[in-house]
């Protein structure tokens, strides 16, 4: 019965979109070259923050560095450059999804993304979408989603970009990007390499960060070919190879080494005309880790997953209505030291509906249902609305149900003293938010309040035999407020940009009424940049209030302010080569701080950079 109901829903989705299929005419190229069009059309009730190129240039060694100073997401870093997980709107680290060109790439093993395994400069843009996105993006899109998007351009061009940098702790970084385009072809490649001893001083002690050295490489290749006025084929590829030792703590040394390989591939064929776009996507994602508990020995544990996705996406627009139906088949295989061969098949149907009225009001209704081979998946829904009351004032609101599926570890782990639990349920959450934006030529002021109720959060606890198992144990309520203020002013040969974000977060365990661990109540980021002719000076500031490190709130880490200061000078060299030389001082105030207890962050340090644009 249950299955036939699900199938009926999926068939309805297909029927609903096919119904309005009509004939074609002109090109909507701008849209089909977007890798993640849902972000544009079906994020009505959401706050979307696009991180500009100039910001990407500043903190670009890792996605952690970038977002730490340019959003109010809290990062738990197990030492600089080490594993890095997030808390977005007070949710847990499996409740933020990373979306690569429209595809959810959170690890199938852990349900999370390690934000130090993504080098953002290798992507065209990074977008932060606050709030639930389960219907559009699947599991883990609860607190918010982070979008990595590659750009395509079908215009005649040939650009090359070479970056060289050297910094404290013998940190060297080289990156290369090139793209070439014509009227109907586009190709782009990029490579980014960083190596660091990462042996920073632990402030207030006579010790250094031991065993923290790392070496990462990220490569990228994209291509597009416009077959004719109605057909486009695109190809995306990215590979990350990371070789990191895991640093010790203030109280314990470490000998660990962790090696990861992530490879992501996507082929997308679009057939389109003025009213409709059909996309067919094939994606193959591969992730693998080898963990060496002692780097001087040969023993290691491993895990890998292979994920194959077929996605059919049909979007139709008529008058003021946009309708988008998506069918997806997703099959994942996992194996590893502690996971016997495990497999999951997932079939999902999604229907997105958007209605834009003349008076500045638009609303959307979005639905998703999945049939999954190894757990029961809830029906997801989101309803959103946006009302542009005047040219400078907009109100938006959103209500959604989202979820986080049990990971392969949660379900299938078998190891000494720990076992997965095949009866574990997906975490589910309801959330509502309302926001307003006041915009003028010079400034933008935005505020959002939200409320999230999450049920059945998965935790590992020992059972009565002392075996650690995954169970649905906790219910959590999050609420908070976010405010952003942006100010831009341009003079004849200078300009000023000032971005500020503030978040107030309460994330409360319903049973104990205590704030969850590693969720600061207050978080502020502020960036200011002033450009005068060929000079630019900028400062970034991060304030995090104290965080609890025990669930009974008996212990906490103190809050901190960390700032970075940078100066750039651009030069025009021969043959139209542009060069930007920069120096950045990180942790300007030499603040001794930790965002994970007993794992100090770096002292004051320097980065020198040269970027050549050809």
């Amino acid at each position: 019965m249950r299955h036939s109901k699900n199938i009926l829903f999926v068939l309805l989705v297909i029927y609903a979109v096919q119904l309005r299929a009509q004939k074609d005419s002109a090109i909507v190229l701008d849209e089909v070259i977007l890798s993640d069009a849902k972000l544009l059309h079906f994020s009505n009730g959401k706050r979307i923050t696009v991180l500009s190129d100039s910001i990407l240039q500043r903190n670009n060694a890792s996605l952690t560095d970038l977002l730490k100073y340019n959003s109010t997401i809290y990062f738990k870093e197990y030492g600089y450059g080490m594993t890095s997980t997030v808390s977005f709107r007070g949710t847990n680290s499996s409740q933020t999804a990373v979306i690569w060109n429209g595809i959810n790439v959170n690890s199938q093993l852990t349900g999370q993304t390690d934000f130090n395994t993504i080098m953002p400069q290798n992507f065209g843009s990074v977008v932060v979408r606050s709030g639930g996105g389960g219907v559009q993006y699947g599991s883990g899109a609860v607190g918010g989603t982070i979008h990595l998007k590659d750009k395509f351009s079908f215009q005649n061009h040939f650009n090359t970009n070479v970056g060289l940098s050297y910094g404290s702790y013998n940190t060297k970084r080289y990156n290369y990007n090139a793209s070439k385009g014509s009227k109907n072809t586009y190709a782009s490649i990029g490579a980014d390499y960083i190596v660091s001893d990462n042996d920073y001083k632990y402030l207030g002690t006579d010790r250094k960060n031991e065993n923290g050295n790392f070496e990462n490489i990220s490569i990228r290749a994209n291509g597009g070919y416009l077959l004719n006025k109605f057909n486009l084929i695109k190809f995306y590829h990215t590979t990350f190879v990371g070789d990191r030792n895991f640093s010790g703590t203030l109280t314990a040394p470490s000998d660990d080494t962790y090696k990861v390989l992530n490879s992501r591939n996507l082929v997308e064929w679009s057939n389109f005309n003025t009213h409709r776009i059909t996309r067919l996507k094939f994606a193959y994602l591969f992730e693998k880790y080898n963990y060496f508990p002692n780097k001087n020995r040969s023993e290691f544990s491993f895990g890998n997953t292979k994920n194959f996705i077929i996605n059919y996406d049909y979007k139709y627009s008529f008058d003021a209505i946009t309708l988008n139906g998506i069918l997806e088949f997703n099959t994942v295989k996992a194996e590893g030291e502690s996971i016997q061969e495990a497999k999951r098949d997932q079939f999902s149907g999604t229907l997105l509906f958007l209605h834009t009225l003349n008076n500045g009001f638009s609303y959307g209704v979005n639905l998703r249902k999945e049939i999954v081979s190894d757990y029961k998946s809830p029906f997801l829904i989101s309803v959103d609305g946006k009302y542009k009351i005047s040219s400078d004032y907009t109100i938006n609101l959103n209500v959604s149900k989202n979820y986080r599926i049990p990971t392969f570890n949660d379900l299938y782990w078998i190891g000494a003293g720990a076992r997965g639990n095949k009866d574990v349920l997906p975490e589910s959450s309801w959330q509502a938010e309302i926001g307003q934006t006041l915009e003028s030529k010079k400034f933008t002021l935005g505020t959002t309040v939200y409320y999230i109720i999450s049920n059945d959060l998965i935790s590992w606890r020992p059972d009565d035999k002392g075996i650690w198992r995954a169970i649905n144990i906790k219910d959590v309520t999050n609420y908070g407020l976010e405010a952003t203020f942006e100010f831009t002013h341009n003079w004849s040969n200078s300009s000023l940009k000032w971005n500020n974000q503030y978040a107030f977060v309460r994330s409360v365990d319903n049973e104990t009424k205590k704030q969850l661990i590693y969720v600061p109540k207050h978080n502020v980021t502020s960036g200011i940049g002033y450009q005068y002719k060929k000079w630019e000076v900028y400062k970034q500031l991060l304030f995090t209030s104290s965080i609890y490190t025990t669930t009974d709130n008996s212990e906490k880490l103190s809050g901190y302010v960390v700032a970075n200061l940078g100066v750039n000078r651009s030069f025009n060299l021969k043959n139209a080569i542009n060069c930007v030389a920069s120096i950045q001082i990180n942790n300007l105030f030499n603040k001794n701080y930790q965002n994970v207890a007993y794992r100090p962050m770096p002292n004051r340090n320097f980065t020198l950079k040269l970027i050549f644009k050809l």
Binding site: T251, E299, Y598, R599
Partner: protein
């Protein structure tokens, strides 16, 4: 100059004078932490530090983090256990590969063993030397050892190579007995080490995964083995073994059912206590069969021990917040006290 010197001596005099006054009491206490219970708290898993809690004998006073209080430093990660001699306590932190040595009554630091340990577990003093069980590298099942510590210098004096997974260690005369629980795997032997020669004299086979052991008044060694857990796909039963320590041979064995995995063997008033499932069972030393009904039911402890008619059991709660020490009266079977201690309370000791 003269004035300065005069002031200094006056100052010194005042200090001496006040100190004398303070030391005026008829019987000198050995320290703030005499006469009470010490609880070792493992501390959060992964990072952070373990702590020691002190509870006064009448359990009216609880001091948490006493090591840090006295020494302004952390003990290290995963405080596994404490070993004692007459005046000293030896606190073993396994991830930190460190043993901190303090005066057991003042908790002032005397020194530390920081070299030569590899996943240290438990510590005893025998024959004027310290003996520490070490797992070695957990990936290597053949490098396990018992480290010998010089108690004058706190340096490693040698290593005795032993079979996989040495855990609990107890002393009788010039012999130490090491229970091989099996580290991340499983093992089923007791090593007998002669402390005159520092060699393994004998190994005695007991049940799988020996987790606790003690001597009774007659000198017999009782070893409780939990059996292999079900996830090993080779589940075995728990076994209680009585060992004659004159001949180092097995005197008696008591077998549990295959799915029963007992732990936390304790001795009080000539009766053995252990935890099984959600109950605590009691068996007379002279008993000839395992008890079938629980003495206390619906209880579950992270660790437990009995002393003077009371049962002390800890609750680690969610393993990320302060745990509790619960005290039960073994006669009335009622909980008489709950005290908040540190994160993951894993050891209970009487000072």
């Amino acid at each position: 100059m003269k004035i300065k010197q005069a002031l200094l001596s006056a100052f010194a005099f005042v200090i001496l004078f006040t100190s004398c006054n303070n030391d005026d009491s008829p019987k000198l206490p050995l320290g703030d932490y005499e006469n009470g219970i010490l609880v070792s708290n493992e501390g959060p898993f992964g990072n952070g530090t373990g702590t020691i809690s002190f509870i006064s004998k009448d359990s009216s006073v609880v001091h948490n983090t006493i090591y840090k209080l006295e020494n302004a430093e952390d003990l290290g990660n995963i405080v596994q256990s404490i070993g004692f001699d007459e005046s000293r306590a030896y606190i073993v932190a396994n991830n930190s590969q460190k043993i901190s040595i303090v005066n057991r009554y003042t908790f002032k630091k005397l020194g530390a063993v920081t070299e030569g340990l590899a996943n240290p577990r438990y510590f005893v003093v025998a024959n004027g030397k310290g003996y520490v069980t070490n797992w070695g590298d957990t990936a290597d099942s053949t490098d396990d050892y018992v480290a010998i510590i010089n108690l004058e210098t706190y340096q490693l004096d040698g290593k005795i190579s032993v079979v996989l997974g040495p855990e609990r260690i107890v002393v009788k005369g010039n012999k130490v007995y090491v229970a091989h629980k099996g580290a991340y795997g499983q093992n089923n032997v007791i090593s007998v080490i002669n402390t005159d020669t520092d060699t393994v004299e004998k190994t005695i086979t007991v049940g799988d995964v020996p987790n606790s052991m003690l001597f009774d008044a007659s000198g017999s060694l009782w070893v409780l083995a939990g059996g292999k857990p079900s996830y090993t796909k080779d589940e075995t039963k728990g076994v209680l073994t009585k060992i004659n320590t004159s001949s180092n041979t097995v005197d008696a064995t008591f077998e549990f059912a295959t799915t029963e995995h007992p732990k936390h063997l304790s001795l009080g008033n000539n009766e053995l206590y252990y935890a099984l499932g959600s109950g605590v069972y009691k068996m007379a030393l002279s008993g000839d069969a395992l008890p079938t009904t629980a003495h206390l039911s619906d209880v579950s402890f992270y660790t437990m021990t009995v002393s003077e008619g009371k049962l002390y059991g800890t609750d680690a709660k969610d393993y990320a917040s302060k745990g509790d020490l619960n005290i039960y009266d073994l006669t009335t079977k009622k909980k008489t006290k709950t005290l908040s201690v540190g994160i993951i309370p894993g050891g209970i000791y009487f000072n």
